[in-house]
Symmetry: C2
Subunit: 326 residues, 2 copies
Amino acid sequence: MEKLKIDRLKKSMNTDKLLITSKNDIYYYTGLMTEGFLIIRKKDKPLLLVSSLFNEISSKNIEISFLEDGKDLTKRLQRSTVGFDETNLKAGIYLRLKKSGIKLKPSANIIKNQRQVKSDREIETIQKSIETTQKVFKRLDFWGKTELQVRDKILELFLRYGVGKAYDPIVASGKNTQYIHYTPKKSKISSVVLVDMGARYNYYNTDMTRMFFTRIPRSHRKIIEDAMEIQKTLIDSMHAGQETEDIQKLYEDMMQRKRYKVRHRFGHSIGLGVHESVDELKTNMILAVEPGIYVKNIGGARIEDMILIKKDKAKVLTTFTQQQLP
Amino acid sequence: MEKLKIDRLKKSMNTDKLLITSKNDIYYYTGLMTEGFLIIRKKDKPLLLVSSLFNEISSKNIEISFLEDGKDLTKRLQRSTVGFDETNLKAGIYLRLKKSGIKLKPSANIIKNQRQVKSDREIETIQKSIETTQKVFKRLDFWGKTELQVRDKILELFLRYGVGKAYDPIVASGKNTQYIHYTPKKSKISSVVLVDMGARYNYYNTDMTRMFFTRIPRSHRKIIEDAMEIQKTLIDSMHAGQETEDIQKLYEDMMQRKRYKVRHRFGHSIGLGVHESVDELKTNMILAVEPGIYVKNIGGARIEDMILIKKDKAKVLTTFTQQQLP
């Protein structure tokens, strides 16, 4: 598996070496989830430099070297042109490498490009991650509970089901739904609640948002219905070959027609990272589609589903149905 | 509180502006735990640029501006000399700022220096963090359990006590103690186990290691006794005014005398970060002291306590006593 990925990566390289520094990328190319510096060399085996604190790590396919100090990295890259991940490498290390004469070239796109299209095994893992998340959704109850109590219940169930969290779960009650990245508090849940959460199973993330409601002010109900309608239209439009900028344009048009302000992107690719970037949709990409409407002093709405891109359509993977309006 | 810290920071600045990018530093100077870009300006209020996704954030003492796109940061720093945190700023952002003519100067030391000496309020918070960690230690039982079961119990208790984890807990049984940053597995715990864990309470971390054992091979017992002895000698030697390099030297001397290889530092400062750097010990610094011995095919030992530096001595804050040799 990893060998194929490395071969493909070598083909797309336009520098002598590639320096890979994010844990997710290192895992993707080596099967080892660790901090460290992974160096891809055109002719040799990949070389992983890790702190000597990680003395448990071993591998057959990767040369592993334990870092005694910061100079080791410089030595290994000396006299080379090195592509690096500008979205992850720390400026201090960049400056140190540069000072010792190494030619550096931003190459995050080359490093991360392969991660966009998911393999069958990755799709299966993500489906298991979603399955667990949906098991948790089914076991939640809200009425009379506080946001924090629901948040803790989510974390407790993740732990019980043997998964991590993709990110800090959002549980927002009533008007608190007007905030996008909201931090749960002691507010009691009465008529409407937004839950944005996902498991991390075998390092693969779920990102899913549902709204649950009973009696609800007409003004807020309208917002939720609009968000649901917009989301359905977006997903129905999606298919391989499409540019994400066009989907964003469609989202913005629909929002403007309904006189809502656009506050964020329509969605994002997801996998080892919760938010992965993507330009053109391709078969077997997985995206989270999450249009959101936020109105001051009234409340907000966001519905988020994960979809698998197919030739002519998008298949919704997150099948759990939110509680309908009564 | 935060005003005082910012005034002190302004006095130590040697650039027009400081760009603060780590969440812990932003929290330290603003009381807001958020991703973002905090700009300290000599004459104006601090300015916090955050993604518009964080529309919940507000503050009286800090000017807050929601980022529409990446250009906002560049605009706010134009025509200035800017000190930045080279241990945190991403190389891509560094290059973008540099390209637009901004003069950049590595200033992590200036930004983080104040965090080394803890205020009374910080010491109190850390003591509560330790208290919770010790409550968890007291409730653990091991015999017949797997490493993973004990790890999950720790996470469950953290959740129940309303705290986060400072880092992924290490639970290593028998010979697995030879690995430093070990990942818990399905190994059954029989005669000896190392537990390295800590709570994160109100963003302040605990880092604590204990070993529990009953019947144990003589070779491994010797290693544990040596680690305990070395740790006691180190702590007894510590006091304000000392250089950490001298403590490291003492540690290395003791290790060499006993013919053990030194595998890591004797310890580190701790607070909002789990591993904070420190050169000279000062009154009211808090450190974790964690000498470790790791012998291939036999096993390892590490004992880790947190201490508060006083004028002539170090006060041990982590009072929970590990199970003695029987």
